[in-house]
Amino acid sequence: MELKNSNIKIKSKNLNVYYGNKQALHNINLEINNKEVTALIGPSGCGKSTFIRCINRMNDTIDICRVDGSIEIDGKEVNDKNVDVVTLREKIGMVFQKPNPFPKSIYDNIAYGPTIHGIGEKKDEMDKIVETSLKKAALWDEVKDRLNEPGTGLSGGQQQRLCIARALSVNPEVILMDEPCSALDPIATAKIEELIDDLKKSYTIVIVTHSMAQAVRVSQKTGFFHLGKIIEVDTTEKIFKNPANKMTQDYITGRFG
């Protein structure tokens, strides 16, 4: 399998991130293909989460964080002063390690995003958005009869799919997943992975994971980060069968440190 160079959705060029005096990312050059799953792997603190937080400018929320260099989505600079961060985040959904549903009903968890973005003002429109989003997240059948019950009452795996449904409700183009299965059991994990397989037909997905096996299963491209640098990016198959860089090999075969 060759890397596709056309069809790039996200492209970072010489991206540097600093937390105060500490440099967290060094000259990251990475291309993420449209409608594909890109996995980012590397030891804790290597900068993979910092990188995905640059894509939707989540780092803006940290006062001491400074970003330079470029990150483009569809050729448009994300860090440009004119970019409206709310619109940007509508385009880029995010799912975190720990499911974090709002302390609201299942229905309102989904309706919240569209409401603040001014979508689905009519009840039947919103009903449709809620149903479609839950269906896309493969949760509808399990919750359709209890939409008014609290989202926090669902199981961990269901909560995570609720969070994915919530991200999907505002029609994003990109979904960022930061270790979405690390708090889930194998069955819930399998459901999320099945969902990722399905979602990649319509969305560009970037997933941070500590599970090599998961990276192999879900992604087409893998990037290995170490100490804030990107060490190797290639097709997932190449990275896990025959990586070019010794550091990558040492990491994925458990020979590190």
């Binding site: 025959n242 075969t253 590190f256």
Partner: protein, 231 residues
Amino acid sequence: MSDTGHTVKSYAEEMQSLNDDLIKMGSLTESQLADAMEAVIKLDKESVDKIVQNDSKINALRAAIDNQITTVLVKRAPMAVDLRITISTMKISHDLERIGDLAKSVAKKVTPLPIDLPDELVNSLRRLGDLVQKQLKDVLDAYLNNSKDKAIEIWRKDEQVDDLTNLAMNEVANYLQKDKKNLEMATHLLFVTKNIERAGDHITNIAESLYYLIEGEYLEGARPKGKPIDS
């Protein structure tokens, strides 16, 4: 091929044990093929039983390696070079086991052969047997030294094995033409020749597995083939 760099010591030990068993198996197979060839060349019927019995040691090692590999796969989900070592060890051990089987078959054919076999037949078998034994020794050395260049060399040299096989087959055909009464003997000799050649093919497989283990890519191109000789 050994490596002790794993953070988890027991993982390193498991990989080391696989390596050790494969080396042990290689060395047993090498002796087994040498013994079988010697029995044929010297028409030593006494040694046949022992050679047949020894085959079970090689089979037992293969079973042990298979078992260890299943454990490594389920426990470690090996990646990259570990994955390639695991897969290649499994393939190499199966090829060694087949070489052991073929050596056993060669030895078993010594029993029905007459002790006054013509020299030219014995000599052509000896030449073929020597080359195949050299190929086996070389491929096991290449494994020990992690040498992809040697692996390629051995892979290419199978052509010579094919050529010597054709020559030996020719000798047998000539022998048969001299007197049709030689038919039964000639049939046994053809089997012996073909079995030695098949052992050579398994050595070529080992060279391919070794190349994949080292390079992470498959040896490209069609296997070299010897020139057929018209009888």
